[in-house]
Amino acid sequence: MPPDSSDLLQGTLELLVLKALSLAPLHGWGIGHRIDQLSRNAFRVQQGSLYPALQRMLRKGWIRSEWRTTENHRRARYYLLTRAGRKQLEAETEAWERASGAINGILKTRPSEHPA
C-alpha cells in the first residue's frame, strides 16, 4: 500500500474512532463493530490494525483507557474520549466537511460551467 493512501486511511480511521467513542465508551472490538455499523461495512480493514491506532491516540491524549467489566462479566479495556479528543473530533469534522464540500462542488461542476 503506498504510504500516502495509508496516511489518509490512518487519519480517517482515527476520525472514525473518535466518532465511535463520542457516543459511548467502548472496548476495542466494540469500536470496530460500531464503525462497521456506522459505515455499513464500507471500511474493510483487519481488526488488529485498530490497536496501533488506539495506542497512538492514547499518546496524543485524545482518548484514555480503563479496565471495566462487560455486560457478560468479562474484564475488558474500555476507551473513553477525553476533552482534547472531543475538540479534535469537532475540528476534524469541520475540516472534513469543508474539504468534502469543496470536493463535492468540484465533482458536481458541469462542463458548460467550466471557465474557458
Binding site: 472496548h27 463493530h33 481488526q47 490497536y51 499518546r59 479496565w67 474484564r75 475488558a76 479495556r77
Partner: protein, 872 residues
C-alpha cells in the same frame, strides 16, 4: 499539554513494560473471543467461527509489534537490551574488562587532574575585576634583567603618569607579630592606597588602606587576611577595632579581606599595612613593586611609551644611577604571576597527554584482539540476521560502557591526584584553587566518550572484515584474521612505542639533570651548621647604638657557646637570594649611558666565613678597622669574570652607582658558594657589616654538639637577650636539600609517567605477539613437525615484534627531537639532545620490548606439533 501526555504515556510504557505486555495479550484475546461469540451468534459453527475471527483480526504478533512501536520507546528499549547484553558479555570476560577500565581509568584520571591544575594555575583568569587591565611596573634594561622600582621612580610615576586609572606600590617584609601567644614572623605587605584601588577587590569587612592613611601623622592601621582574623583575632566579625603589635608597633585592625585572598597582585601576605613613601634622596634603592590599572582604551604599548618618557626625564635628576638603557616597563600582571609555571605545567601536561594516548591505543589493541576472538560469535549473529549496523551499535555500546566506567574511575583518581598535587607542589602559583569542577568532570567524561568511540573505530572500520565477514568464513582458527586488521594492530603497537619513547627521554633527561644537581659542590661544608634570622623591631631598637649593642652581645655569647667551631652574622645565607647591587670597575668602567653590571651582594662578619667553612683564597679577611674605608671581599667566580687572568685583590670599584662616595677596594677572594641555590651562578660580593648595623641578620653557628642541641642553645641565647624576639631556626644542610625538592618532584612525576608508558607499550607488544602466536599455532605446529628448531621459532617471533618496536621508537625519536628543546630551561648541565641519555633510554625501551616479545616467542617454541594440528 499533549506533549505532556505524550511523555507520560511513554514513561508509563517504560516503567510498566511488563504489565503493558500482559494487558496487550489479554486485550487481543478478548477481541478474538468476542468476535468468535459474535460469529456464533450470527449462526457459524464454533470451530469455523474461531478460525474466521482469527483471520479477521490479522497477525497477532505483527500487531503487537505495531503497538509497541506506537508506544514510542523503541530506541530506549533497544539501548536497554544492548546494555544488558554488554554487561553480560563484559562480565564473562572480567580480566579484559578490568584491564581496560584500569588502564584507561589511570590515563583519564591523570589527565583530568592535570587539566584541573592547568586550569587553575595557567588558564584561569586572575581573580580581579577586569584582570586584563592590571599591570606590574618594573625597571628593565634587557629582556631578562628586570628589577623593582625605587622610591624616586614611584614618586615620578605618581606625578607624571597619564596611562593608569589607579597606581599603587607594594613592598613585602617580615615582621614580628607579638602580643598574641608566642611571638612569630608574619609576612606583611606594605601598600599605598592605590594598590587596592587598582586591584578593585573590596574588603569583606571594614575598609582597605586609604589615602588618608598615607599621611605622615596618620595612625598605624592593618588590613588582615581572613585566615589571620580567624587564627589570631577570634574570627572576622570580632577583628575590627582590635590591635596587633608588629615589630613593637601597635596597629589597629580596620579591615578584613574576603576568604581565600591569600595573595594580592601576586604578593602573598598575612596582613597589609600602609606604605608611607619618604621623599627620595637618591635614585635607588629599588625595592618596590608597582601595580597599576590601565585606563580605558590605553594599551600596554601606550603605557610603555608613557613610562619610557618618565624614565628619560628622571635620569638626569640623580647621579647615583646612570643606566640610560633601563626603562620603567609595564608587564601584564598575569605574566608576572604565572611566569615559569607555564613551562612546568606544560611539561607535565605533555607527559600526561602521552600517557592518555598510550592508554587509549593500548585499549584499542585489546579491543581489537578481543573483537577477533569473538568473530565466530559475531558471524553467528550475522547468520541469524543481525544487520551490520546493529552489531556495530552493540560493540559501541559495550565499549562506551567500558570507557564510561573508566571515566568514573578516572574521576576518583583525579580527585585523589589533585589532593596529592596540592600537597606536593605548593610552590606552583594558584594551585590551591585547583579542584574538580564541572568543567573538569565534563572534560573527563568527554574524553571517556571520545576514547570509547575511537576504540570502537578500530574493529568497526579498521578490521571491517571482522564484523561483516561472511558466516561461511567464521572459523578464523583455520583461515586466520584478515590482513587489514593485522595491519591495524601492528600500527597501534608501533604508535605505542612512538609515544613511550618521548616520555622516557623526558624522564631520563630530568633524572640525569637531577643527579648532576645533587652532586654539585655547594662550596662549603653544610654539616653541623645551623642558623636563625633575627629581625630587630624598630620600637625596641630605634637607633644604631641599640642595634649595635644587641649584635655585639650576640657575637660575644656565641663565642661562649659550648662545642662551637665558628660563628658569625650575615645578611643572607645560602640558598636564599640575596640583594643585588650595581657597581662599576675603576679600571674598566662601562661606557657612559650603559647599564652597570649587577651582582649578588652580601654583608657578613669574618666569623661567617669561618662558620660556613668558606676558604680565603687570596688577600685578607675583614678586620675591625675595615669599617672606615669601604672594602669588599669577592668570590672566585666574580674575580674570574671581571679580572680574568689577573689578580683581583687591590682593585677598586664604585658601588651602587655612588660616584661621590669613596672608592671600594677589593681586599680578598674567597671560595665560591652556591648562594642562590644549586643551579645558579657563584658570583658574589661581600661587604663587612658596618657601623650602620642591619635590622635583620642571619646568625650562623657551626657546632659539633648536634643540630638539635645547637638549635636549642641558639634559641636560649636569643631569648636570654630579648624574650620578645621571634626565632626561626634552620639547618643549612636541610635547606640545601630543600632546593632539590622541586626538581626531585618533577623527576618523580615524569619518571612515573615514563614507567606507566613503558609498561603499556610492553603490554601492547606482548598482547600482539601472543595473539600472533595463537593465531598461527597450527602453522607453527606444522613447521615444528617438519623439523624446524624451537630456537628458530622463538627468534622469528622476536624478530617480528622487534620490527614494530624499533619502527615505533624511531618515530618517537623524531617526535622527541622536535619537541624536546622546550625542556632546556628545566635542565641543569644537560643538553635536551644529550646523546647518552637518549641512547640509554632507547636501549632500555627496546630491552623491555625484547622481553615482552620473548615470552610469547618461548611459548611458540613449546607448541606440541601433534596437539596443535589435531585440536584444530
Amino acid at each position: 499539554m499533549s506533549l505532556l501526555t505524550d511523555l507520560g504515556e511513554r514513561l508509563k510504557a517504560l516503567v510498566f513494560r511488563r504489565r503493558q505486555e500482559r494487558e496487550l495479550q489479554e486485550e487481543f484475546l478478548f477481541h478474538v473471543e468476542r468476535e468468535t461469540a459474535e460469529r456464533i451468534r450470527l449462526g457459524a459453527a464454533p470451530e469455523a467461527a474461531r478460525r474466521e475471527a482469527r483471520l479477521a483480526f490479522g497477525g497477532v504478533e505483527q500487531y503487537k509489534e505495531a503497538v509497541r512501536d506506537a508506544r514510542g520507546i523503541r530506541p530506549l528499549e533497544d539501548l536497554g537490551a544492548d546494555l544488558r547484553y554488554a554487561v553480560r558479555s563484559l562480565r564473562r570476560n572480567p580480566g579484559f574488562s578490568a584491564t581496560v577500565v584500569l588502564v584507561l581509568g589511570l590515563g583519564l584520571g591523570a589527565s583530568t587532574a592535570v587539566f584541573s591544575i592547568m586550569d587553575s594555575v595557567v588558564l584561569a583568569e586572575l581573580p580581579y575585576p577586569d584582570p586584563g587591565g592590571l599591570v606590574v611596573v618594573s625597571e628593565k634594561n634587557s629582556p631578562t634583567n628586570i628589577w623593582n622600582i625605587s622610591t624616586a621612580d614611584a614618586v615620578a610615576i605618581r606625578e607624571q603618569q597619564r596611562s593608569f586609572s589607579a597606581w599603587g606600590e607594594v613592598s613585602r617584609m617580615e615582621a614580628a607579630l607579638s602580643g598574641a601567644g608566642t611571638p612569630e614572623h608574619v609576612i606583611l605587605g606594605r601598600v599605598s592606597a592605590g594598590f587596592f584601588k587598582a586591584l578593585g577587590v573590596p574588603a569583606a569587612r571594614g575598609r582597605l588602606i586609604e589615602e588618608r592613611d598615607e599621611a605622615a601623622e596618620a595612625a598605624a592601621v592593618l588590613v588582615v587576611s581572613h585566615r589571620l582574623a580567624e587564627e589570631k583575632l577570634g574570627g572576622p566579625a570580632r577583628a575590627l577595632g582590635r590591635s596587633l603589635t608588629l615589630d613593637g608597633v601597635s596597629h589597629e585592625v580596620v579591615g578584613v579581606l574576603p576568604p581565600g585572598r591569600t595573595d594580592m597582585g601576586g604578593v602573598r601576605a598575612a596582613a597589609w599595612t600602609t606604605l608611607k613613601l619618604p621623599a627620595p634622596v637618591r635614585r635607588g634603592p629599588f625595592w618596590l613593586r608597582g601595580v597599576a590599572r590601565l585606563k580605558e582604551g590605553v594599551t600596554l604599548d601606550m603605557a610603555a611609551a608613557d613610562l619610557a618618557g618618565i624614565s628619560a626625564r628622571i635620569l638626569p635628576l640623580w647621579n647615583d644611577f646612570r643606566d640610560s638603557v633601563a626603562r620603567l616597563t609595564p608587564a601584564p600582571l598575569r605574566e608576572r604571576i604565572v611566569g615559569r609555571a607555564d613551562r612546568q605545567v606544560g611539561l607535565f601536561a605533555g607527559g600526561v597527554l602521552l600517557v592518555l594516548l598510550l592508554a587509549i591505543t593500548n585499549v584499542a589493541t585489546l579491543v581489537l584482539v578481543r573483537a577477533s576472538a569473538r568473530e565466530p560469535e559475531v558471524a553467528m549473529r550475522v547468520m541469524l540476521g543481525a544487520s551490520r549496523g546493529r552489531i556495530a551499535r552493540l560493540l559501541l555500546t559495550e565499549n562506551l560502557l567500558l570507557t564510561m566506567m573508566a571515566g568514573a574511575l578516572g574521576l576518583l583518581l583525579a580527585w585523589l591526584g589533585l589532593k596529592l598535587a596540592v600537597a606536593q607542589l605548593p610552590d606552583l602559583p594558584r594551585i590551591q584553587n585547583a579542584a574538580l569542577d564541572w568543567r573538569a568532570v565534563s572534560v573527563a567524561l568527554a574524553a571517556a566518550l571520545a576514547a570509547g568511540v575511537l576504540v570502537s573505530l578500530s574493529p568497526i572500520a579498521g578490521g571491517g572484515g571482522e564484523i561483516g565477514r561472511s558466516p561461511a568464513r567464521a572459523d578464523t582458527r583455520r583461515t586466520g584474521a584478515g590482513r587489514r586488521s593485522n595491519a591495524v594492530r601492528s600500527a597501534l603497537v608501533t604508535v605505542e612505542f612512538a609515544l613511550a619513547l618521548p616520555l622516557l627521554v623526558m624522564a631520563g633527561l630530568l633524572l640525569n639533570s637531577f643527579v648532576r644537581l645533587s652532586r654539585v659542590d655547594p662550596g662549603f661544608d653544610p654539616y653541623g651548621v645551623v642558623a636563625t634570622r633575627i629581625a630587630l623591631p624598630a620600637a625596641g631598637y630605634p637607633g644604631d647604638s641599640e642595634r649595635a649593642r644587641f649584635w655585639i652581645q650576640v657575637e660575644q655569647r656565641l663565642g661562649q657557646m659550648p662545642g662551637v667551631d665558628g660563628s658569625g652574622l650575615a645578611s643572607d645565607i645560602p640558598p636564599d637570594s640575596p640583594g643585588t647591587n650595581n657597581f662599576n670597575l675603576v679600571d674598566h668602567p662601562v661606557p657612559t649611558g650603559q647599564s652597570e653590571p649587577t651582582t649578588p651582594w652580601y654583608e657578613a662578619t669574618p666569623g661567617y666565613f669561618e662558620a660556613m667553612g668558606i676558604p680565603l683564597l687570596d688577600g685578607r679577611m675583614f678586620t675591625p678597622a675595615d669599617t672606615v674605608d669601604p672594602v669588599v671581599i669577592v668570590s672566585r667566580a666574580w674575580a674570574r669574570r671581571y679580572f680574568p687572568n689577573q689578580r683581583a685583590v687591590g682593585r677598586q670599584l664604585i658601588s651602587g652607582g655612588c660616584y661621590d662616595c669613596p672608592r671600594t677596594t677589593i681586599i680578598g677572594v674567597v671560595g665560591d658558594v652556591k648562594n642562590l641555590g644549586l643551579a645558579q651562578s657563584e658570583e658574589a660580593v661581600y661587604d663587612p657589616i658596618g657601623p650602620a648595623l642591619a635590622r635583620s641578620l642571619q646568625v650562623v653557628v657551626r657546632s659539633n654538639a648536634g643540630t638539635g642541641a645547637s638549635l636549642r642553645a641558639l634559641r636560649e641565647l636569643v631569648h636570654g637577650l630579648d624574650p620578645d624576639l621571634p626565632v626561626r631556626e634552620s639547618v643549612i644542610a636541610e635547606r640545601f636539600d630543600d632546593t632539590l625538592d622541586d626538581p626531585r618532584r618533577w623527576t618523580a612525576v615524569l619518571g612515573a609517567f615514563a614507567a606507566v608508558g613503558t609498561s603499556l607499550a610492553a603490554l601492547g607488544i606482548f598482547g600482539l605477539m601472543s595473539y600472533v602466536v595463537r593465531q598461527r599455532r597450527r602453522e607453527i605446529g606444522v613447521r615444528l613437525a617438519l623439523g624446524a628448531q624451537p630456537g628458530m621459532v622463538t627468534r622469528f617471533v622476536i624478530a617480528r615484534g622487534m620490527r614494530y618496536a624499533a619502527a615505533g621508537s624511531a618515530a618517537g625519536l623524531v617526535v622527541t627531537l622536535l619537541a624536546v628543546g622546550r625542556l632546556r630551561t628545566l635542565l641543569f648541565e644537560v643538553s635536551p639532545t644529550d646523546l647518552m641519555t637518549i641512547g640509554a633510554v632507547a636501549v632500555l625501551l627496546l630491552g623491555v620490548a625484547l622481553v615482552a616479545c620473548w615470552l610469547p616467542g618461548r611459548r611458540a617454541a613449546r607448541i606440541k606439533p601433534l596437539e596443535a594440528i589435531s585440536t584444530e
